[in-house]
Symmetry: D2
Subunit: 225 residues, 4 copies
């Protein structure tokens, strides 16, 4: 299957990141989820770190509201923050509880270096850059999870990680990804015009995307049991 279409900016950034994209999107952790061979303990480690991740990811999307240039950008980013904090976070806590990780244990998780590296890189790219820098650094996560989810949903057979795959491969998350890709394309056009990809600025955005992709690939390594 071909990768889902999340717009032209993402497609160009993805290509520019070269082998890093495949290293991230086809990581052994994911293949282990697909065929069910991923050890349970590895998945639980990932869930614990993902709790801390979601907090900083929500902060990054809130920073996008601060950095937005139009009311539409503000509303889109704010809707994502709201969904993350008021729904996805609760879902994550329930998933963890069902997996035997109590809320208190979750909250006591020591943030792994790979987690710190990725989230702080994204937040700092946003603080020191503008809305586009933040979008370029955020998109490997949002849109990457969409692409991974879609592929695994198509490829996976019977696996204990079906729920995870259906969450990110499912219609709701795919719609969010297409909307986010369109938001990014509009934001690029709104600032850099129709020839954005020919500007030096574009290379800076590619660098943010590639670095964030490298750090996302390392994040899967957190699943080590």
């Amino acid at each position: 299957m071909s990768a889902p279409d999340y717009g032209t900016s993402f497609a160009a950034w993805r290509t520019a990141s070269g082998d890093h994209w495949r290293a991230y999107s086809h990581h052994a952790f994911l293949e282990g989820m697909k065929d069910g061979t991923l050890p349970r303990a590895a998945f639980l480690n990932y869930l614990r770190q993902d709790y801390v991740f979601l907090i900083h990811f929500s902060r990054a999307w809130s920073l996008a509201v601060v950095k937005a240039g139009t009311l539409d950008e503000m509303k889109a980013a704010s809707a994502t923050v709201h969904a993350l904090l008021h729904f996805e976070m609760d879902l994550h806590i329930r998933t963890c509880e069902a997996a035997g990780i109590a809320r208190a244990e979750l909250e006591a998780t020591e943030e792994a270096p790979e987690n710190l590296a990725y989230t702080r890189y994204v937040l700092e790219a946003g603080h020191s850059g503008d809305f586009l820098d933040l979008m370029a650094a955020l998109s490997p996560c949002v849109l990457g999870y969409g692409e991974i989810g879609a592929r695994l949903l198509a490829e996976a057979g019977d696996t204990p990680y079906r729920d995870w795959i259906e969450t990110y491969g499912g219609a709701e998350f795919q719609t969010l990804c297409r909307d986010t890709g369109a938001l990014i394309d509009r934001a690029v056009a709104h600032r850099l015009g129709p020839d954005a990809q020919s500007l030096p600025r574009w290379q800076q955005l590619c660098r943010h995307f590639t670095t964030a992709t490298r750090l996302e690939a390392a994040f899967w390594g957190l699943g080590r049991a």
Copy 2:
């Protein structure tokens, strides 16, 4: 009537701001809304500027999510952003349309210096300080509107500005104010402990509150027809 109770931090900051608080909360603009003598053109000017204000106010509350220290603080600030951008903003646009200000005119409003001064002061206090600095700079607006609304609702007779008064004096906004006051009290205790008011840090928070109050008082002057 006595002022509504929005918690101990607000009460202390309000006292520390001295005459500035009364200059803000009893401004001629407000007395004119209360007795109905405020010229319509003045109110429309205020509405136009308030549209731009709401954008930056939403950005400031989003910055609070970025700066929050707990999941509860993040959720509370995010709920405010969501309400501002997805409900209050639309309500404001409809109110303006009913008053004969088309959306395009609203969006073309040139931001007045008094508006720039207040919103950028609050945002910058947040950027360069921490969550408490931001709360101290934000609270004259949120909690001040609550106090003003409650007083005007109790005191006002027949006036064309009844809708405005009922919005801010009404139960929903009063609940938001009490919740925000409690959020601030918890945030202070969570960082500075039970004797927060004895610390030098407290004086810095008082300064933010007082400066923001001065700038809020000047904002009413925008109502000049």
Copy 3:
């Protein structure tokens, strides 16, 4: 005389700001310095506010180091911060002392709304935008003072404000202005390429420059005795 040449970005932004530029650069306060009719008390008020201004101006140039994209940009901005904090600030304190304003009085200055508005606007433009946004918001001050100083040096006769005029019209400050103008032109080219002025992004930079110019013009009003 024609205005000094501080590069193409400044020239374009200056033109885009329309009448606001003349309102700022030919303000009555400046004409009063030129012909010596400016009341002493007005100048002293200005000096007091300028002390607070210099603190926030130094913070804004430090933010430029944080936001810089190259080592050259970092070094240029850092050299300005260093000159401001370690030399200009001391000079300002001595000038004020010579004028009868003791250091303690200077430090106790209550920041005027016009001062708050300008400095916080610049800082916030930097925090929420990128290096170029910050440069566009900072340049009416740096380069405007250069242009004003050069004109007043050429036009002024005998006036008690000769020192001020010679500081900003003199060779050292003019060199700083040309260097800063060149830094901005390089920074624009480094990000937006040779056709920067045709991009929507350019209009955003023009808006920052124009708003900062409006707020700078209001700053002269602080000289009211």
Copy 4:
């Protein structure tokens, strides 16, 4: 020998970081520099990464100027930025050239994940917190290098890494460390008063220090040949 005295805040944070401090300050990389067994290639890798590190470290100290609360804090942080960008950076480039790493190679260094993690953590702690958060996150580097340099200078015999040891163990850097420690103690007292260590806020500062120490320890691992 006992560790040098860099003030009470550092001493308390160091103790609170527990075993992480020893893991950082007695890392195998350092013992290898001390006894001369560290492979040359490992040291060159470290030098390459340290070039990128110095850029972000300078940005972090510039952010300290933005976040400072007093003119003294601004001046101290600005002097550090100036020394880093205008002297230490040039020294580093010359050291690398002498070691056979050309400037162009240095500038093309791909930032390692451990480098990204530490620098972005520090910067983000500063962006989202206040001056004290930034100082707590910065101090394991500045003051840790001072402590390490002093110890290695006392303990090291003949080693090819003598220059590095003398730089950080030498009088000039030790003075900088004592001054920075005093700056931090004053900044703590200026905000949190004499009982700072009893406040919940103190625990947050300890957490920043400990996390930064963990990430600094990992940085030495960059020396892998």
